[in-house]
């Protein structure tokens, strides 16, 4: 797959304006705890870096590993997964299933040549706006230090395999043992 980029890739070391590297990240939050933590951070006007763009799922258990791979393939430099604390899941224990998938997915991305630290898991209760903001800041800095992933952009990395995984096969691409 040859992606033609006519404009600056998200993950380029400098964009066309020549500014310093600003990672672009996707954050998956659950409807009940972490998305509300993000809302609370907002209501309390707690500041954090603007690099993470959030997607609301009903539960962190909904996170399909393919979503993460799609984000990396689409140019994200990092992905944050966030849910309720273990034992506090709105759906009783589904965040534990997210945890299992997360642990395996980190190995999978590592095997693909992506630094595991580009995929991060944060537990945040609906009361933890401060923690949410702090963790976003921490993760952004970690990913910034890793530099751009640039996958699927400029051929710097063997992006064919990941693109194939995330798009052609869809959710079925993830081995059953990862999710079961």
């Amino acid at each position: 797959m040859s992606a033609t980029t006519t404009q600056a890739p998200v993950g380029a070391a400098t964009d066309s304006a020549g500014a310093a590297f600003e990672p672009v990240m996707i954050g998956f939050t659950c409807n009940w705890c972490s998305y509300r933590a993000a809302d609370l951070a907002g209501t309390a006007r707690i500041k954090y870096p603007p690099n993470v763009r959030l997607i609301r799922l009903m539960c962190s258990g909904r996170l399909d590993p393919a979503f993460v791979l799609k984000a990396f393939a689409g140019g994200a430099d990092g992905v944050m997964v966030s849910g309720c604390w273990p034992g506090e899941c709105h759906y009783i224990e589904q965040n534990i299933k997210a945890l299992r998938r997360f642990v395996l997915l980190r190995r999978v991305i590592e095997a693909m040549g992506i630094e595991p630290a580009r995929l991060q898991l944060v537990w945040a209760s609906a009361a933890e706006g401060q923690r949410f903001a702090h963790e976003v800041g921490r993760i952004v800095e970690e990913v910034r230090a890793l530099g751009p992933l640039g996958w699927g952009r400029d051929g710097a990395r063997p992006h064919e395999s990941i693109a194939a995984v995330s798009t052609a096969a869809g959710p079925a691409a993830v081995p059953a043992e990862v999710t079961a």
Binding site: A41, R45, Q94
Partner: protein, 676 residues
């Protein structure tokens, strides 16, 4: 891609200056109109307040005139106004689930400072919404029947109020209370601020009313042990502990209590200040009137003999063969009114509670000043006879203190003022109040403060450093045997040592020790302090995040009696509305299995905590029961065949949203999207 055929309207809100101060709203809406035109955007507008009726009318008009098939509103959190804009779409004839609200306020303008970066993020968030909404499909809300009965957990004044409101409207209530009697903390008090109403006089009629009400089933000496189901249809298991008293036969005469030979310290109702029998009613006006026999302390259970109560009971109501029993009830809604516990003043060692006998807690003082309490209402030192000549009342014990609880316990100022008044009423003592600030914000509260000031109570502004019985200065020799309060008088600007005979610690309010377990049991969230989190702190203060579970009174945080009563009534009003509708609409977020693609591998079968996934062995396929499914979506990614899909949060929607979010670089430039 379907987006080409969709006609999408994008509406960007200024929210006054809430969004516009940080995000260039006009540039964003102009950008969306131009750059997202090939993704189906036919109109992009911005408005000062999209949620205003004129803002909503714009959306409605565009749907009608431009034939919009999808709507994206970029404004506040969907938890705030999703309903509003879905309503606008519905009024204009568009399926409300074809509207997507993306947050550029809570998640952009309020948390970022760099205008350029915030504007770039707002563009990305809108692009995500536009691509996602194109994949949305029209949905119909799920309608679930509402069981007309309600469970109220906690029989304090908040729970009683909720139960009575619902019962008076003609619907069944199960009122569960852990203690032998309903009444809660209010039953322990003597007077209530600021009116000095006798607590028992105003509470006990409500207790009796609840106890006698044909629609209220009391489950006292009971606890909820299991909750299954969802809004409208909860199945609740209540463990009714053995009372060893046959309620059918008991007349409440009290002879068992009188004849029981064992006395134990009453750490619950009398706050440790008094004693009770092992066969006991916590207080004379208890509801229900049946006593309980406290098994672990009972001689019969310990040694196999005694049975004094059984011998003397005139109606043969004593039944030592009783065992705990589980009662299962069906309810449609739940009110949690689980109240508070007093901060354990022993934790602040320098105040000497538990070590210095004449240091009392507020609850001990409440019992002492109560005419029906252990001292018959006399304010006396721990020896039970000596009246104090000087009393020091210490505010903010365990509250407004980052070592213990950072929050204000809300009631302690008024409670301390009440104590000052009561000490003055019962004794000739000199009274000191040691306070940080006086918080007397309620109706007629400040007037009460003025009254207590005029009564001659001395107010010293400063946090007490120490309460000690060790004398330090030669001049203190005369105060041998008294207590010394060391405090910085911040108004006089000096350290003071004030000798007193009695110290009352106005201890703060804390969530019950098992608040976290309670939250888990009912599937709700608690703040880090342990108080129940409201659905919205201002606009939805008695609902929780979990549909069908409401909260009232101090379960939500420290509050006074009027607020607790209002909470109970408010929760009842919310529930009654639902009961009267007989059914309610739920978000149609559910998983479903495409049987044609299901291989019957059963990988998903064990993933559902609600047992909503059923395997049909005959057909070798799995099915999701939509009545049990809660829509978490965990089973969807688990399916190796991709046979499970989820409405509202489908793979197509989320994958498209990811694509959209990544369309914009950190500096706000449009990137060529990699063909997916």
């Amino acid at each position: 891609m379907s987006s080409a055929q969709e006609r999408i309207g994008v509406y960007v809100c200024h929210c006054g200056s809430n969004i516009a101060a940080t995000v260039d709203v006009e540039a964003v809406s102009e950008w969306a109109g131009e750059e997202l035109a090939d993704r189906g955007v036919v109109i992009a507008r911005n408005d000062k307040f999209m949620c205003s009726s004129s803002g909503q009318e714009v959306v409605e008009k565009d749907i009608a005139e431009l034939g919009l098939t999808r709507v994206v509103v970029a404004a506040c959190s969907p938890h705030m106004h999703e309903k509003t804009f879905r309503g606008a779409c519905a009024r204009a004839g568009l399926n409300p689930y074809l509207c997507e609200l993306v947050s550029i306020r809570e998640q952009v303008s309020w948390v970022h400072t760099d205008r350029e970066a915030a504007t770039a993020k707002a563009k990305a968030v809108i692009a995500g919404g536009v691509l996602r909404v194109a994949e949305q499909v029209p949905l119909e809300p799920l309608r679930v029947p509402i069981h007309p009965a309600t469970l109220v957990v906690g029989g304090g004044i908040a729970g009683i109020s909720a139960a009575l409101e619902i019962a008076d409207a003609g619907f069944a209530v199960h009122l569960v209370e852990r203690q032998p009697s309903i009444g809660g903390h209010m039953a322990q008090f003597d007077k209530t601020f600021p009116t000095l109403d006798c607590a028992a006089c105003i509470l006990t009629p409500r207790m009796v009313e609840a106890g006698m009400h044909k629609n209220i089933t009391l489950h006292t000496w009971s606890e909820v042990t299991d909750v299954k189901g969802y809004v409208g249809n909860f199945t609740v298991t209540i463990k009714e502990r053995a009372r060893y008293i046959n309620a059918e036969l008991c007349t409440g005469c009290g002879i068992c209590q009188e004849k029981c030979p064992i006395r134990v310290q009453d750490n619950v109702f009398e706050a440790g200040l008094g004693f009770r029998k092992v066969a006991y009613l916590p207080f004379p006006q208890a509801v229900p009137k049946y006593p309980v026999i406290d098994g672990p302390n009972c001689t019969y259970f310990e040694k196999g003999t005694c049975k004094a109560c059984e011998k003397f009971c005139p109606t043969d109501a004593i039944d030592f063969t009783q065992v705990d029993k589980d009662v299962v009830v069906e309810v449609g809604n739940i009110v949690l009114a689980t109240g508070f516990e007093l901060f354990d003043a022993r934790r602040i060692e320098q105040y000497g509670y538990g070590r210095l006998p004449n240091v009392f807690t507020s609850l001990e003082f409440e019992r002492m000043s109560n005419a029906a309490g252990p001292t018959n209402g006399r304010i006396v030192l721990r020896d039970g006879v000596t009246e104090p000549k000087t009393v020091g009342i210490v505010h903010c014990v365990g509250s407004r203190d980052r070592n213990y609880n950072a929050y204000c316990s809300a009631i302690c100022c008024m409670q301390s003022l009440k104590f000052a008044h009561l000490v003055g009423e019962h004794t000739d003592a000199t009274i000191y109040n040691f306070y940080i600030d006086i918080r007397a914000g309620g109706k007629a509260y400040d007037e009460f403060y003025q009254r207590v000031l005029e009564e001659g109570t001395i107010f010293v502004r400063g946090r007490v450093a120490e309460v000690t019985d060790t004398l330090r200065l030669p001049a203190e020799a005369a105060d041998e045997g008294r207590l010394m309060i060391q405090v910085e008088d911040t108004l006089a600007g000096k350290q003071r040592r004030i000798p007193v005979d009695m110290v009352v610690l106005s201890a703060g309010l804390e969530p019950p020790a098992d608040a976290k377990e309670t939250a888990r049991l009912f599937g709700i969230s608690c703040s880090s302090d342990g108080w129940v989190i409201e659905r919205h702190p201002k606009l939805d203060p008695v609902a929780t995040m979990t549909d069908g579970v409401f909260a009232a009174g101090c379960a939500l945080g420290p509050r006074d009696i009027p607020a607790s009563v209002s909470n109970g009534a408010a929760a009842a009003a919310r529930i009654l509305g639902r009961i009267q509708q007989k059914e309610m609409a739920l978000e149609p977020v559910r998983a479903s299995v495409d049987e044609a693609r299901c291989s019957g591998c059963r990988i998903c079968n064990d993933l559902c905590p609600y047992n909503a996934i059923i395997f049909h062995a005959d057909r070798m396929v799995t099915e999701v029961n939509p009545a049990l499914c809660q829509g978490c979506g965990t089973c969807i990614p688990a399916c190796p065949a991709g046979a499970i899909s989820g409405t509202g949060f489908s793979d197509a929607q989320i994958l498209s949203q990811i694509e959209g979010l990544l369309m914009v670089s950190a500096s706000g430039q449009l990137r060529e999207v990699v063909p997916a």
